[in-house]
Amino acid sequence: MSSPPVTGSAEVPQRLGGPGPARFRPRRTPPTGTARPRRRGLLSYWRQYLAISPFYLIFAAFSFFPVFYSLYLAFQRWDGMGTMQFVGLQQFRFLWDDPVFWLSIRNTLVIWVLSTVPTLFGALMLATLLHSVRRFKGFYRIALYVPNVTSIVAVAIFFGAVFSNNFGLVNAILGVVGISPIPWLSNPWLIKVVISLLMTWQWTGYNMIIYLAGLQAIPNSIYEAAKMDGAGPIRTFFQITIPIMRPIILFTVIISTINGLQSFSEPQVLFANNAANANLGGPGQAGLTTLLYFYQSAFLNNDYGYGAAIVWAFFVLIIILVAVNWRITTRGRKA
């Protein structure tokens, strides 16, 4: 096929709001002579829309619709099968008075801080170390990334066995040194520490890879210039590496905030096998994160309206935290 004339195609983006950069021009153009009416501009792209439609159809069915349906549910009382009953803001009023909800928010925030901070610092340190490594590069990268692709259920079961109160490996090792057993899985704080450790272990490698990519994009000439100006490695790190990496750090902070606040599988698997007690989250509900509480309310107690109210309240909280994080991380950049 002969290459199409360029003149015709440049007008198309113009109709959609100004000429785009050359690389966004559609490759194919209508054959000359069949000029279409202007208002059918969108329709002329039906092939392209068809090509991208599978994603949007699936997204609409499995994400977009459920999200707004859950908003609708938050104003109803529903057991999952019977008739729905409109209750207005009652679910949110219950939420406000529910100490367990606030406990779950506190748990989530503590676990988030305890896991995200070490994860990001650890990842940055590992990435810097790995950046200067000469041999076995591939091995280190794979070894550090493997935790991220390991099944979380398997990892949680493993952690549960290692930190087991009475017969766990950690307590056995402490016992050898002469330290009496520590109740890892029943003390409210230690429960959170164990969950955070699990999440740190799992996400450090992922963030490290992203940092490493960022480090490798920094041109060597900048470092050479810094060296000539007499900056040591530490000063270089804080005054060259960190400022250049800022957008990447911002990205990881936001992704980690969203991921870290959604901890669910970790406490669910760690504290699930207690047949006598239907409640989740372990002793004292210390590992009850908000999403776990939502799951318990909606799917175990059949209270779908209340479950929906929990997740929407939690959504607002995540938005606030992401905004705060954004402000903190971008502070001073424009000044």
């Binding site: 529910d98 100490p99 549960g160 017969f167 029943s186 409210p188 207690n274 006598a276 004292g284």
Partner: protein
């Protein structure tokens, strides 16, 4: 390029056609208008029924219908709820777990009334209290009882002997007639067997004491009664072993390791025997069973039900009444440790044999009478949800050393809130 576009369009058209076909199939399979369908599906979960009996049912009814079975993993109740709510691809016969039955009763119209199909004639063969738990207030029978979980006291014969206590089941049962007797015996046993505990956690005691009564947390008029004397007494009883120091406070997966080491007794249902056997095979022959203090309670035990969409109710009912006939129910006990809900089974050879794990004791002599002595009780749809905070607070006493009185107050106030959310007055 033209060719690839055509190929793409073809692929797209095929995909669209295929998805349309899938939707059509999904709609067709569940909501067929005919009521004499030849294909029936049965949903259950691993261990709910004897797989051998189910396999035989397929051949036994092969001339009339084709029975397809699916062992559903994961959260069974959740999957069943979703399917029933969607109304398509609904199974013709489904299992329902005993603890979930109460929450399905408000939606009884999603199921067929088994009394219309002939359960009335058969009901005398099954334990009345168990059948009643699957009945609506206006007498619709939703569930056909599969099994039950009569509780008893499992105890370590060797620890008892070491402390100079009688080890014969009948005599031990006489020693622990009341809860207080049981706890006093526990302190004595602990003195002679240092480092051992009487109960694994106090929630298990609470669970059984509540189950011994006829009233639970919500009464028949949908009022919250979780703050009344019968629950308060169960609470006080449950806290006793904690104050006496004979509570092992196990609330995590370390139970598996502890059960063969330092637990003197276990309170549990008949199926709990299998848990002990799997967790501590090295203690084979050292365990015995006797009646637990005061009287038996029930824990678990499932049902089979026929959803409204069932394609052939007559045949489906024939199949479930065959699978759950006393003789086949007794085989479930041998194959999968399912304790039958039909008392006639208790006299069958499959159940009367000696159990090597319990030193050759005929454990049916304990569980059989217990099964018949379980009281009628009313379990409201929200009962499990309302009970949860009591369990949480009992765990708080054990894990954080929370004062029992504070824990009680918090449990009641939280239970009241949950009850209100679930529409209980």
């Amino acid at each position: 390029m033209d060719l690839s576009r055509r190929g793409f369009l073809q692929a797209a058209a095929l995909t669209a056609a295929a998805s349309g076909l899938t939707v059509a199939c999904g709609g067709g399979s569940g909501s067929g208008g005919t009521k004499n369908g030849k294909n029936l599906t049965l949903w259950y979960w691993g261990g709910a029924l004897s797989d051998k009996v189910v396999a035989e049912a397929k051949t036994h009814f092969a001339s009339a219908v084709t029975l397809t079975t699916a062992s559903i993993g994961g959260d069974f109740k959740q999957k069943l709820t979703t399917t029933l709510a969607a109304g398509t691809s609904v199974p013709d016969i489904t299992g329902i777990k005993g603890e979930d039955m109460a929450s399905f009763l408000p939606n009884a119209n999603r199921f067929l009334d088994l009394n219309d199909l002939g359960f009335k004639k058969l009901s005398s063969q099954y334990l009345g209290w168990k059948a009643k738990l699957a009945q609506t207030k206006d007498g619709k029978q939703i569930g056909f009882p599969i099994d039950i979980g009569p509780t008893a006291l499992f105890y370590r014969e060797d620890f008892f002997a070491k402390a100079g206590v009688d080890t014969d089941p009948a005599k031990v049962a006489a020693l622990v007639k009341t809860w207080e007797d049981y706890f006093q015996l526990g302190t004595e046993l602990q003195k002679k067997n240092p480092g051992t505990y009487l109960v694994n956690n106090i929630s298990s005691v609470f669970n059984i004491v509540v189950g011994q009564g006829t009233q639970r947390f919500i009464d028949k008029n949908n009022h919250f009664i979780g703050d009344q004397d019968h629950i308060r007494q169960a609470w006080t009883t449950a806290v006793r072993p904690y104050t006496l120091g004979i509570d092992a406070k196990i609330n995590d997966n370390t139970w598996n390791a502890a059960v063969g080491k330092n637990l003197l007794t276990e309170l549990g249902a008949a199926w709990h025997a299998l848990d002990i056997e799997q967790a501590a095979p090295q203690t084979k022959g050292k365990w015995r069973v006797c009646a637990n203090p005061v009287g038996p309670a029930n824990q678990g035990g499932s049902y089979l039900a026929l959803p409204r969409q069932c394609r052939n109710p007559e045949e489906a009912f024939k199949i479930i009444s065959w699978i759950l006939s006393p003789a086949n129910d007794a085989r479930g006990f041998t194959d999968a440790a399912i304790f039958p809900a039909a008392p006639a089974a208790y006299a069958m050879p499959a159940m009367t044999g000696p159990d090597a794990f319990f030193g050759g004791q005929k454990i049916i002599e304990v569980f059989g009478p217990a099964a018949k002595a379980i009281p009628d009780s009313y379990e409201a749809p929200a009962d499990a949800a309302v009970m949860a905070p009591y369990m949480t607070e009992l765990t708080n006493i054990e894990a954080k050393g929370k004062k029992p009185d504070d824990a009680w107050k918090d449990a009641v106030s939280q239970a009241k809130q949950i009850a209100r959310r679930q529409g209980v007055s």
